[in-house]
């Protein structure tokens, strides 16, 4: 009897563990997505500081607004404020859960809206260490997932999950993501290039809680381990509930974005 109980306990533990092991990576990503659902609309101001190997700094400013789309990826509008020669240049992205995103750029000097090739995911954004794919909306369906372990990161208990980009044009073979165990926010991401060498790491810090549900990092620091360059993103005036509609993401809205 005792032995039978022991055996059944062992078996059930094995089953539970095995079951948990199989689904956890995706589950964590799903939990992370669920915990970030329903923010509806948001805006922010962004300062981007590029630092080269010699420590020389260059600063860029931009602002943007974002909207959740039911059943699909987010819509975003980013307007460049400095450097002054690109002031008024605006980028509009329709993120899709499946397939390539749609992206347009408005160039005020020629008054022309141009489509941006969706296959350029790995290219640098504004000469920074962030690739386009690092800054685009992190939709669940863009990766497959594998649970690795639990680990302490930034003094927080985290799930360490490996994810693999679905898109063949991604610049990465894999990423390692540290999800905070209590609220599923990103604490850190490591990016491995196509040769599986460590390329970059991204640290999230200065978190603030909005609408008592949504954690947003005010600081994101990307370090490129291969070229020694760094890019710091500092977000300010993060706002929610700013009342956006699809009309704020039309071609006309892109042309008049300021």
């Amino acid at each position: 009897m005792k032995t039978a109980l022991k055996i059944s306990t062992v078996i059930s533990i094995i089953i539970i563990t095995a079951f948990a092991r199989v689904i956890t990576g995706l589950e964590i990503a799903q939990e992370a997505e669920k915990s970030d659902n329903g923010w509806i609309s948001s805006s922010n101001i962004l300062t981007m500081t590029l630092t080269n190997r010699k420590g020389q700094k260059t600063t860029r400013h931009m602002h943007g607004y974002f909207m959740e789309v039911e059943g699909d990826g987010d819509m975003s509008m980013t307007i460049f404020d400095t450097p002054v020669d690109v002031k008024g240049t605006a980028s509009m992205i329709y993120t899709h859960k499946i397939g390539d995103d749609d992206q347009w750029l408005y160039l005020p000097a020629i008054g022309r809206v141009k489509r941006i090739s969706s296959s350029n995911k790995s290219g640098p954004f504004m000469g920074s260490e962030f690739a386009f794919e690092d800054l685009s909306s992190q939709e669940l369906e863009k990766y497959t997932y594998k649970y690795i372990s639990e680990e302490l990161m930034n003094g927080e208990e985290c799930y360490k999950v490996e994810r693999y980009p679905v898109s063949k044009t991604s610049g990465y073979k894999r990423n390692i993501v540290w999800y905070n165990k209590s609220n599923y926010r990103f604490e850190k991401i490591e990016f491995y290039d196509r040769k599986d060498d460590l390329l970059k790491s991204l640290m999230y810090s200065n978190f603030k809680l909005y609408l008592s549900k949504y954690w947003r990092a005010s600081t994101m620091k990307m370090v490129n381990h291969q070229n020694g360059k760094e890019t710091l993103l500092e977000f300010s005036e993060i706002k929610f509930g700013i009342n956006l509609t699809k009309d704020d993401f039309s071609q006309n809205a892109l042309k008049r974005a300021k």
Binding site: N52, P83, D102, I110, S119, N120, G123, G127
Partner: protein, 405 residues
């Protein structure tokens, strides 16, 4: 001068009236106006290595450009005023020394519609070497024989964006003339143009009401536009009684246009087609081609685009642009560094007479608010039947330094 009068007399009172109407519907609200002033100064140095074809022309030219911009926004961004001025002072050429109001318009935005009144610059099209569909604005030929720069056009513009695209309606008047560099300038025809003697097919001359409509939509991989223009043509025909002094004639036209782009991954397929009817002639023209982008080559961050296009226009040799039966092969290089270094170059070759033109342009930011640019533009093997034959010795190199503010 004349253009200013039109603006102030016709549009400004309308602006204030509509503004009042909108204001009356609202309760008392704080006058919150957001404003931005920006623009640039530029110095250009142009050098023409070949000897001048016509007397009084020079080898090299300094010129200065000033483009101020003012943007005002109020009523929570539901109303705005945009101004873009332009002025060039040329060392020798009194015609190329010119000023223009590129944009000066008031706009009201309500949900998915926009109403604009004033001078605007509207671009239609997708191709790179030619813009046959683009017709709203007259070209500023003083800025370049490629007709890429445009003059401000007075208009009332209504735009509506339902879920199935965008409908644009334009009511325009005050036709702007195409002007060429003056006697001391390069890149000009040998004859004198008498701008006071310009004639129009319309009885109302330059005040003919021009109308245009366009539907455009972006869906799946497509960006598409279908447009129709009814009014005075932007392309002049030149007439002369003595063969020395010419004057321009502008006919009334109906032009239907289609522009379409399919963006399939790194490959963009592009086409623009027009059909234009006038009393004199029926015109058909098109540009077709594509652009392939190799992005982030060997993880260097560098993008290289390759462009190939073919241009056809049944106006043949009477075209100022000369793009009647011409191939264009070009390349775009973007380093994507912190100075946004880029380079674009290409050749245009006539399929029949092998007239060749080439250009290369490079830009690089210096610090945070300066930019240097180098441009080389030239001709080779120009057939004497081409309009370009008149400027065949005007290949040039230009260095520019721009300060943005």
């Amino acid at each position: 001068m004349c253009i200013k009068i039109v603006v102030w007399i016709v549009f400004v009172p309308i602006l204030f009236q509509i503004n009042e109407c909108l204001a009356q519907n609202k309760s008392i609200q704080e006058p919150k106006i957001y404003s931005e002033i920006s623009g640039y100064f530029r110095i250009d140095y142009r050098y023409f290595p070949d000897s001048a074809l016509y007397p009084r022309q020079h080898k090299s030219y300094f010129s200065m450009v000033f483009q101020p911009e003012v943007y005002l926004e109020w009523n929570k961004g539901k109303q705005l005023l945009q101004f873009v001025g332009f002025a060039r002072i040329d060392q020798y050429d009194t015609e190329r020394t010119h000023a223009d109001i590129r944009e000066l318009y008031w706009q009201a935005i309500f949900k998915n519609w926009e109403l604009s009144v004033g001078l605007r610059k509207i671009f239609w099209g997708v191709t790179e070497s030619n813009h046959v569909v683009d017709i709203i604005n007259q070209a500023d030929a003083l800025e370049g024989f490629d007709l890429e720069k445009k003059l401000g056009q007075p208009m009332i513009h209504f735009s509506w964006s339902p879920s199935w695209g965008t409908i644009d309606l334009f009511a325009m008047t005050y036709h702007r003339q195409l002007k060429f560099p003056g006697q001391q300038g390069r890149l000009r025809p040998p004859f004198d143009l008498d701008y006071n003697n310009t004639s129009y097919e319309s009885e109302l001359d330059e005040y003919n009401p021009d109308l245009a409509i366009r539907w455009s939509h972006s869906f799946s991989v497509f960006d598409i536009g279908i447009s129709h223009f009814h009014g005075t043509s932007r392309s002049p025909l030149f007439e002369s009684s003595d063969g020395i002094t010419f004057s321009a004639f502008y006919e009334l036209i109906n032009q239907t246009g289609l522009d379409i782009q399919a963006s399939t991954g790194p490959m963009f397929w592009k086409a623009e087609i027009i059909y234009r009817v006038s009393k004199r002639k029926n015109i058909n023209a098109f540009t077709v081609g594509g652009e392939y982008t190799f992005s982030n080559i060997f993880s260097s961050g560098i993008d290289i685009g390759l462009i190939a296009e073919y241009n056809f226009d049944n106006r043949g040799q009477e075209l100022i642009t000369g793009l009647d039966d011409d191939f264009f092969f070009g390349s775009r290089l973007a380093i994507n560094d912190r100075q946004s270094t880029d380079l674009i170059g290409g050749i245009i070759i006539d399929r029949n007479n092998q007239t060749l033109r080439y250009f290369i342009e490079a830009n690089r930011r210096l610090g945070d608010s300066w930019k240097i640019s180098l441009e080389v533009s030239g001709f080779d093997n120009v057939a004497d039947t081409e309009f370009l034959y008149l400027i065949r010795n005007d290949s040039f190199a230009q260095f520019s330094l721009t300060k943005f503010f």
